[in-house]
């Protein structure tokens, strides 16, 4: 996918159609903005391509999974992460493009953590990539705070009745990373093997880590 001003028409099934397939109306409005801003020298189309490539191909939940797996394996790293996650993840090269802070919250037998953004869709992009559609939906945003246990059940997660659920509301300035509980039976596993058990949803708190 490219964000250039010069676009190839889409493939079209109707070969009798004599002209290029018209993109949807909002796509034309985006192209209009791009054209105007490029003419004014305010944007660099190559930078747009770079951003899209980064989020489509380079950044994703595998970054967060590495952080979680290391926290499981290395008590010193875990301590530093809980103390100042912004610094720890920046040192790993996962810096926030918007200069936001990252806070790591750890699941325990007593407390399960879950993340939402009730305002819009604030999310730890450098660690998890672009949020899934459901994270941005009204259904999740409106209900995660009000009825977290019900929402978790819809994700197939049932917690013991005495486990407290804490819901963290992200903002433009602060994004949260959930450290799920380490599955039993993984003693002595390497960081890379452990990372395979860490799902995206487990780092949002709507899932648990996979069982080995």
């Amino acid at each position: 996918m490219r964000a250039s001003l010069q676009c190839m028409p889409h493939d079209h099934h109707d070969h009798d159609d004599p002209h290029a397939l018209l993109p949807p109306e909002p796509a034309l409005r985006v192209k209009a903005l791009e054209t105007l801003l490029t003419r004014k020298g305010l944007i660099d189309p190559a930078a747009l391509d770079e951003i899209i490539d980064t989020y489509e191909n380079k950044i994703g939940p595998k970054n967060g999974a590495q952080v979680v797996a290391r926290a499981w394996s290395d008590p010193e790293f875990r301590g530093a992460l809980l103390e100042d996650a912004t610094k720890v993840v920046a040192d790993l090269g996962y810096f926030g493009r918007q200069g936001e802070h990252v806070v790591a919250v750890e699941n325990t037998e007593d407390q399960h953590n879950m993340v939402v953004c009730t305002l819009c869709s604030c999310y730890p992009w450098p660690l998890l990539g672009i949020p899934p559609g459901w994270y941005k939906s009204d259904a999740y945003r409106a209900r995660a705070v009000r009825a977290p246990r019900e929402v978790l059940a819809e994700f197939g997660v049932t917690l013991p009745a005495d486990t407290r659920i804490r819901v963290w509301d992200s903002t433009a300035e602060v994004r949260y990373l959930v450290i799920p509980m380490r599955p039993d039976g993984t003693e002595g596993w390497s960081v890379d093997d452990l990372a395979q058990l860490v799902t995206r949803d487990s780092m949002i708190g709507t899932g648990l880590a996979r069982q080995p």
Partner: protein
């Protein structure tokens, strides 16, 4: 980490384009991210009054509307000019033979 069937990062090319445009303009210093989030949150809340947003195309429709409003308020992209260019792109698509690259006459 490998969720069985990961969602596509962006469902449509224009979602990716408007996202990248916004991130880029933030990085060039045109606006601060908290300002963006506050405006975007307000747009989502307004749109959410009339229907439940699904987090897909309606989410990026709100995103685009927010960006257009922000750029208009900052005197960066006047709505009349944007509409003229949108119409010009539409005309370019309609007048380009199928299979040919679409260009905008400057």
């Amino acid at each position: 980490m490998s969720d069985a069937r990961p969602d596509p990062v962006f469902e449509e090319p224009w979602h990716a384009q408007v996202f990248a445009l916004t991130v880029h303009l933030n990085e060039t210093g045109l606006f601060a991210w908290p300002d963006w989030a506050a405006r975007f949150g307000a747009t989502l809340a307004r749109h959410g009054l009339s229907k439940e947003l699904n987090g897909g195309s309606d989410y990026f429709a709100a995103w685009l509307e927010t960006l257009e409003g922000l750029l208009a308020d900052r005197d960066v992209a006047d709505p009349t000019t944007v509409e003229t260019l949108r119409a010009a792109w539409e005309e370019a698509y309609l007048s380009t033979p199928h299979g040919q690259p679409v260009h905008l006459e400057s």
